[in-house]
Symmetry: C2
Subunit: 138 residues, 2 copies
């Protein structure tokens, strides 16, 4: 049998990876606008990923494009939340999980620091009272 | 042999646990002052534990008194740093390690959020340029 007799099928690659809806790239443009606003006015913002028509492949694509930064935060409060800086400083990937570890919501937050990481003055005031009680018992 | 014949030695407990120098309790009082200042003026502060005459037992005692909070931050930058909220909101236990994992310094920071966790505007601006380049290549 000569090589010429082997049927050859030219396979055209699909326009995008299967599972990519095309909804993710506009999100990157929206994020760039939000980062610009953060720098200009200090205003933070967030995109609720659970509320958008994104497939797991879209989310993986976004995750890969944004990359991983140096800072990772975990917050334990009726389930674990992770707030991870991306390779674009000021853009944070935020995942909330319930007590069983299932993801309940995902956000991309644009902020110098995510709101949840900050101690709130009223909690600090309560903590100070407890600390002063502890000191008086020493 | 009657019970009366058993020699009884009354052991007086030592004044403090061995290894406790007595230098740690004043630190708690200093921290309470710093938290008060944070609430009143917003001013952050830090105590460099490596610069104080504290034994490992003193540090364990302080760690135990301050307790563990809900937020834990890791920062990867030529060695891992951990910035852990204590049970007193606004008080963070900060440990810096070198690339070999050895502790290089320890601080107690009093702040709504530790300075190192915040994205710096100039890094955000550089990140935005990279993001815009990435978008133009899509």
């Amino acid at each position: 049998m000569s090589l010429d007799a082997i049927p050859i099928h030219v396979i055209t690659p699909p326009a995008g990876e299967p599972g990519l809806t095309g909804n993710a790239p506009p999100l990157l443009r929206e994020l760039a606008e939000q980062v610009k606003r953060l720098l200009e006015t200090g205003e933070s913002s967030a995109i609720d990923l659970s509320a958008l028509p994104l497939t797991p492949t879209d989310l993986d694509w976004l995750h890969e494009k944004l990359g991983a930064g140096e800072i990772a935060v975990t917050l334990q409060a009726s389930g674990e939340s992770t707030l991870n800086e991306t390779a674009c400083p000021g853009i944070w990937w935020v995942t909330h999980r319930n007590e069983q570890g299932a993801v309940t919501s995902q956000f991309i937050e644009v902020a110098f620091v995510p709101e949840l990481v900050k101690a709130h003055p009223q909690d600090v005031a309560i903590g100070l009272e407890n600390l002063e009680l502890m000191i008086s018992d020493l």
